[in-house]
Subunit: 342 residues, 2 copies
């Protein structure tokens, strides 16, 4: 089976996990800070806060911003993304405002311009498929309307363009994995303080007389030391993993005579002629031992049934799929996958 | 240091964790179902769903009930409990209705009677300190008003009186620990189906053509296979752990000439004469190498600042503390702790 996910349990993973067990530290422990520091260093950012998964990273980032501007009610997201991103808005009691995407799978700036306003808490683009959103235009609009910006890089580990927050996921199908896991990153000290607080029940401090007092809303978003121990090992190879994924994308491009590009590839996206052709290809791949996926559907119309007009997201959702591009593929794997497409 | 938490990394924990690594299954994997089955068997319940922590267990249970009765808006909780329980209500967009407690630390049935009504989605008692709430009275009221019941047993692993849902936490200070971890239990097939769905993004199914479609609201509440591997090992000793905790409670009782009882003890609760005395004892214990904690404060008045009248919760919150009672204590530890109380 050629899977969409690839995890690497190497000797360093084994050694770290057993070291966490030797420490008898299953919950919080030294590997949490070590993993946070390693991710911060890889990205080149001041603060990294380890959390239980990528959806939780989105939830924590939004909650930390909401705590600072409780009067703002709307968050702008692409119509085409993983539903966890938009559910993180709903679970924070905020209203998702959807924006269409371009055929680069990224938030359409033209559509965004009409939707950002004084109620906007944050513009929340996703670096979908590990391809960078147009952050220059997004940040310009954010400055104009004084809104926050969160970059969802759950599908593009390592990408961060200096917004208020970035979020990563360490789910098995993503660049590096801890099984379940995620990280919130920021250069802003106050944002970091709120992020740690909301993901630790809103706890005031760990002081002996304060520990059961809470000065803001919160929940439990914490990662465990054992999973952070895995993270410390796998983040060491992140640069190599991204390079192998990029070369797989290059190989797909040459075999398919295309020119797709992603800074930190999640998979290789394809647009079929019709929905029927897409579904037939998915089933053919599956029957030949290749796991591939439908692209996300247009969330506001197909999943939430809110209605609205998002022609590109509808079109990509109806006939898009993505193929494995991970670091565990051989050249023969990619050739086999391509041979099954037609 | 005599800590409030005790985790046991024994050979079985080591073997299981390394076996999960050997399987190369960090995310979902065989240990999840094995852990779920072991907890279900220990409790004697049909369904157990592993989640990322105890707060998440509360959040999942409530979300699964809300999905079934979206028109109901209120959830009734004790005024004295860990804030994660009440935050799980707020994060589901529901209104917490607080009920005072008795000096047994459990929901007051007299106060509950005036607060349950046709808007109540669920009555949500906690088996605080591992002492069983008055479930006979609570279930009678729930039947009368046709509301759901969730038992928060995060502090009392193993307790379940057959309500709609029970929730457990595997945080280090609790009976058994996976570092971070939790479990939702139920005998109801539909509840179980909703609980699995909401904690997996509301995903319709894992069918290849359905996998990116979602038919209810959800988020990521999933446990990872590596932590479930720890769970499979530690749940084997849960019965013994509870018995040792009970005998520690008995020892405290005999040394202090008291008669406290808990089915599945979390710690040993104390009421000091004043707040000042309580805080002085906490600091004295700490200075002598003993970790103890303030009791939770009265949530609606002291933490949320909603106001209201909860005299017993105020009183216990102001002068209550709890002492370690875990399975790692020696008889000498308990004697030392008691000697430091006066």
């Amino acid at each position: 089976m050629i899977s969409l996910a690839h995890s690497t349990v190497n000797d360093k993973v084994r050694a770290n996990v057993n070291s966490a067990l030797d420490d008898n530290r299953l919950g919080q422990g030294r590997f949490i800070k070590e993993f946070e520091d390693a991710v911060a260093k890889f990205v080149g950012v001041k603060h990294a806060i380890a959390v239980s998964n990528g959806s939780m990273a989105d939830m924590v980032a939004l909650s930390a911003l909401k705590a600072q501007r409780p009067e703002k009610t709307e968050v702008i997201v692409p119509a085409l993304t993983f539903i966890a991103q938009t559910n993180s808005i709903l679970i924070n009691g905020l209203k998702p405002v959807f924006v269409d995407v371009g055929y680069d799978y990224q938030m359409s700036i033209a559509d965004l311009q009409g939707k950002v306003n004084e109620n906007t808490l944050a513009i929340f683009p996703a670096h979908l498929m590990g391809r960078k959103a147009d952050m220059v235009s997004i940040k310009e609009l954010a400055r104009k309307f004084d809104t926050f910006v969160i970059e969802d890089a759950c599908e593009g580990f390592g990408i961060f363009e200096g917004s208020d927050f970035g979020t990563f996921s360490f789910f098995p199908s993503h660049t590096i994995t801890t099984g379940e896991g995620g990280m919130v990153i920021t250069n802003n000290d106050l944002h970091a303080e709120f992020a740690r607080k909301v993901s630790n029940h809103g706890r005031k401090s760990d002081d002996i007389l304060e520990k059961f007092h809470f000065d803001c809303f919160g929940f439990n978003g914490k990662m465990s030391n054992v999973l952070a121990a895995i993270g410390c090992a796998v983040v060491e190879d992140a640069g190599d993993v991204i390079r192998v994924r990029q070369s797989n994308v290059t190989l797909y491009n040459s075999l398919l005579e295309r020119n797709w590009f992603a800074e930190s590839p999640h998979g290789y996206p394809m647009l079929c002629k019709t929905t029927e052709e897409r579904d037939a290809i998915l089933i053919r791949l599956w029957e030949n031992g290749v796991e591939a996926r439908k692209f996300f559907s247009c969330l506001p119309t197909k999943e939430y049934k809110y209605g609205g007009s998002y022609p590109n997201a509808e079109d990509i959702g109806a006939r898009g799929l993505f193929l494995p591009a991970h670091q565990g593929l051989t050249e023969e794997d990619v050739q086999k996958i391509v041979s099954l497409l037609s």
